[in-house]
Subunit: 294 residues, 2 copies
Amino acid sequence: MSTKKNLPIGVFDSGVGGLTVTRAITELLPHEQIIYLGDTARVPYGNRGADTVRRYALNASKLLINEGIKALVIACNTATAHGLEALKHAYPNIPIIGVISPVSREAVMRTERGAVAIIGTRGTISSKCYPAEIQNLLTQLNLDKTIALEQIACPLFVPLAEEGWLQGEVPEKVAMSYLEPLKKTSVDTLILGCTHYPMLRDTIAVTLDSIMPHHVTLLDCAQSTSRDLAGVLSELDLARDTTSQPLPTKERIRFLVTDEPSGFMTTAIRFFGGPIQRPEHVNIIMEDDTNADL
Amino acid sequence: MSTKKNLPIGVFDSGVGGLTVTRAITELLPHEQIIYLGDTARVPYGNRGADTVRRYALNASKLLINEGIKALVIACNTATAHGLEALKHAYPNIPIIGVISPVSREAVMRTERGAVAIIGTRGTISSKCYPAEIQNLLTQLNLDKTIALEQIACPLFVPLAEEGWLQGEVPEKVAMSYLEPLKKTSVDTLILGCTHYPMLRDTIAVTLDSIMPHHVTLLDCAQSTSRDLAGVLSELDLARDTTSQPLPTKERIRFLVTDEPSGFMTTAIRFFGGPIQRPEHVNIIMEDDTNADL
């Protein structure tokens, strides 16, 4: 019997956004333990250069791997876009799952009208990581399908989510302003391409209902990634025994942060949707530090 | 004749907020040249620990001082709160002006009802730097006056300003939600305690007009700081000769940034209120680096 099964899953993000992914994982896989690392000393990643983000992701992941984990989830769109390939290359013996591919695959399979919208931060949208991934998938899966893509940057959704302005007039008006251009498209599937956006899911859904003549399916990178992780653990025989009673949620997850832990708790509880353990402060030694200033 | 007079003024901020201060300086002192340093690789400072911010401020200021400046403006509330004393200690031979003291002095002098409100980021408000400064001033100036203070954190004003949502329903509703508690106070003077907030000045003024039975004077740290700087330059005989025609605004200011310059321009032009020179990328060597991770 493999003891590797009993190791926790590592989840990495720049801040609190990855907690929506962690919440989805813990709901889907209540027997698994998790170590969450929020690189709060360097948040936000969205505006940093690609090389910088890759270096941050490599060093943060090394810390999690040294803690002993059986799988690694990169619960951050920017770190996935710039770091996933380098991470897979650096750690070939551990399954590493990013947030872009699972939800993109779901979008490709589910769109009936062949029109998908992606909403994300300005950084994610301008990186074109979702269009590239969707194109890859169409080729890989050998699908005889073309998909029209609409990309919309929704930068105010992150502060609204972090500040807890999730419903009501302000978020609805912001959502309307961002999403109204979809009116003249046949988009039937929308990817929430930022780990913060599931917090605003209801407002986004209501707004789309009022704009679009047909139903739009919201796909959430947190949900898709947790389902992908479940599949990978099962396939590699890494899933924990599910016959016993799971531990209470709060005891299943350790939280590590790189800045002072005090600022993390309030927002983290909101994003996780329940009480969490007090985060521990960790230092990340930045190796391969060719940039003297960072 | 002193050639020191002809040196530029150094202005330092973590990002674009300090450009409202720069704009006020350049309007008030059109003959002066400016070097602006935005520490965009480490923005935002608001959530970082006090020691970290102090170290960033010291190293960034050293870069400006090495460029050759005759005065230094710390155009950032967080860097002023945590770094000003250390900077004055490190560089006793150069006048250094922060953004907290000038506007606080103005508030103390101008309030007639003895009630002042301070709005700022969550970090600025919880640091209580304005109440401490106002208390200091009352003691220093030996004023027989007590001032009631109201502090309100308005965290969404920064992303609204950066995204250019300056007027209309969304910023007005956000402002109303933050400022409504002032209704039951006799506040007649409000400090815009964040260098981003002058961008939202009109919306804040309209909101206060609709809430308050009497007029509320808005004091803007950008305006107050530039007036203070003018006084200091004149007092120390450091002001440039004003008899000749000033250079065009765009040619008077050099911009340095620590992250990739590309992301800086659009927001910077909006904050500065006109065209700017293309920013130059600089590296800041972080000395006294006792924290291996930063």
